[in-house]
Symmetry: C2
Subunit: 314 residues, 2 copies
């Protein structure tokens, strides 16, 4: 039996945990509720207790059998592990990696932003396996990103590394994004953005469409399913989404030129259909060379975070 490492992915509702062989196999995974009361002060104690329980239930010893734990945090993490503010958890000026290490008898603990950590997970055992330079784009409720170069997270000097969702791409956008900008990638390519674009197109055109049955309750999944069936309006929506996602990918390619882009998040369940659309737009915006980063799909789903967190400590 080899050495183990632990991955902890702290979310606003639940904390996901996993125990891994250091070679990358997931041995067991579980969850605990995120107790956000009192400024989130119980979260790490709950995590530590849960880790102790799991380790001992497996007949393992924390000191002897576990090399360390990694921690994904839903907010910016400074290079020294400090978290100034984490709105989702209520944390202010904490150093969760130091704290968790203290709660686990000095076990080595490293932390990182959750989107970056998920990218690391996909590199280790997911859609980016075998690649050292990758950028992951997560198309969910929002759009997140994680940049990995030379197998290491590029968190940036001000916590802005991988904030791909807030790149300005659309010139004619009038509505504001949460970040205060207009025309961000997230406003178009997130699940929320796709549904919004569908509502707009239903209002502004007379194109008949199966989506009209959903009215204002239309979802990104409805749009993607209808687009795959050839629905004209849904395809128009996806042409917009694909164009701006392809544009953002081209910008990344022309700045850091990774080996591969890994597309994840709920929207990526549309699979190769989405990749094929985006590839055309991405190629359109990178005429400079036929040799460029590949596009691929994430494969770890919601487990990317625990994989990446565990990889942090290796």
């Amino acid at each position: 039996m080899g050495m183990k490492c632990i991955g902890v992915d702290v979310g606003g509702t639940s904390v996901k945990l996993g125990i891994f062989e250091t070679t990358g196999e997931l041995v067991d995974k579980w969850e605990v509720t995120t107790r956000k009361e009192e400024g989130g002060r119980h979260i790490l104690a709950d995590v530590a207790a849960s880790i102790r329980e799991k380790v001992s239930s497996m007949g393992l010893d924390l000191k002897r059998d576990v090399v360390g734990a990694g921690l994904g945090v839903p907010g910016p993490v400074m290079p020294d592990g400090n978290v100034e503010v984490c709105v989702n958890l209520g944390w202010h000026n904490v150093n969760p990696q130091k704290e968790l290490s203290g709660l686990l008898d000095g076990l080595p603990v490293k932390s990182g932003n959750d989107a970056n950590v998920a990218a690391l997970g996909e590199m280790w055992q997911g859609g980016g396996k075998g690649y050292g330079d990758l950028v992951m784009i997560t198309l969910g409720t929002g759009v997140g990103g994680g940049v990995i170069l030379d197998q290491k997270i590029v968190a940036g000097r001000h916590g802005l590394g991988g904030e791909i969702g807030h790149i300005h791409v659309r010139e004619d956008e009038k509505e504001y994004c949460n970040c205060g900008g207009q025309g961000c990638v997230e406003q178009i390519c997130s699940a929320t953005g796709i549904a919004r674009e569908a509502r707009r197109k239903m209002e502004s055109t007379d194109t008949p469409s199966s989506l009209r049955a959903y009215g204002d309750a239309v979802t990104a999944k409805n749009v993607l399913d209808a687009a795959k069936e050839g629905d004209g309006l849904a395809l128009e929506v996806m042409a917009v989404v694909s164009r701006y996602l392809g544009l953002a990918l081209s910008q990344i390619a022309l700045i850091i030129d990774p080996e591969i882009f890994v597309i994840g998040g709920g929207v990526s369940k549309a699979g190769q259909f989405l990749i094929d659309m985006v590839q055309k737009d991405y190629d359109h915006f990178t005429p400079i060379s036929p040799n460029k980063p590949k596009l691929g799909l994430a494969t770890l789903g919601n487990d990317a975070g625990i994989y990446g967190a565990a990889r942090l400590i290796l």
Copy 2:
């Protein structure tokens, strides 16, 4: 007397060379003509002969006193030092670092793309001194870029790292860029682009302007000088340039978030006036956080290449 290192910046017309203390002081610099005939096969022999001559004229010994030489090449350089094609020099499938090392009795030689190498030079002894993560943007005849993270060049996996001039930013551009795209940063923010934008504005508006005296021969320098004097049309031109440069910087900030941007090249001679304009647009496109990479000016001018080349070998 400390150890020395040599920086070689190969250009299409001349090769610039410099000999440095390994602590960063430039001891001497000189140039030789770039002999491009016969597929550029004499270039490296000329460089080697010139280095030998200089080293011995200084009473130094290549083996004893020089740690190595770095080489900036005006084209893509693969990680193993191979250069598939370098149009400006006539090179095809050469490995200039291996070749130059052979010509210098096995002296260690490392090579890199010239724009990346210039960025490394600015990090070592120029506008980026003291910073480990920086992106340099060179606004010259074209627009070049160099990305440095953790004191190392990010050349990219397909030679596209730092190709910031070919990021698509302008949606309404009808003309094509050399790269085959439309609306590239280079089409707007290079000296060529600035002059073109001025010609367009002179044609399409009746705004009185001191620039009209130059007619079609208007240059970027004319535009910058007139803008500093408050000329309305010149300021309109610079507003366009600044907007798209600020947009490109925002994209880089939201992907890799360096410590500082260093703006160089002929256009950057406009100095703080240019920086102040661009800062406003850059801030506009990064409302997400007040903490972001700084903007600064390059300070090494045409010597950035020899500095960076010498730094390559350290």
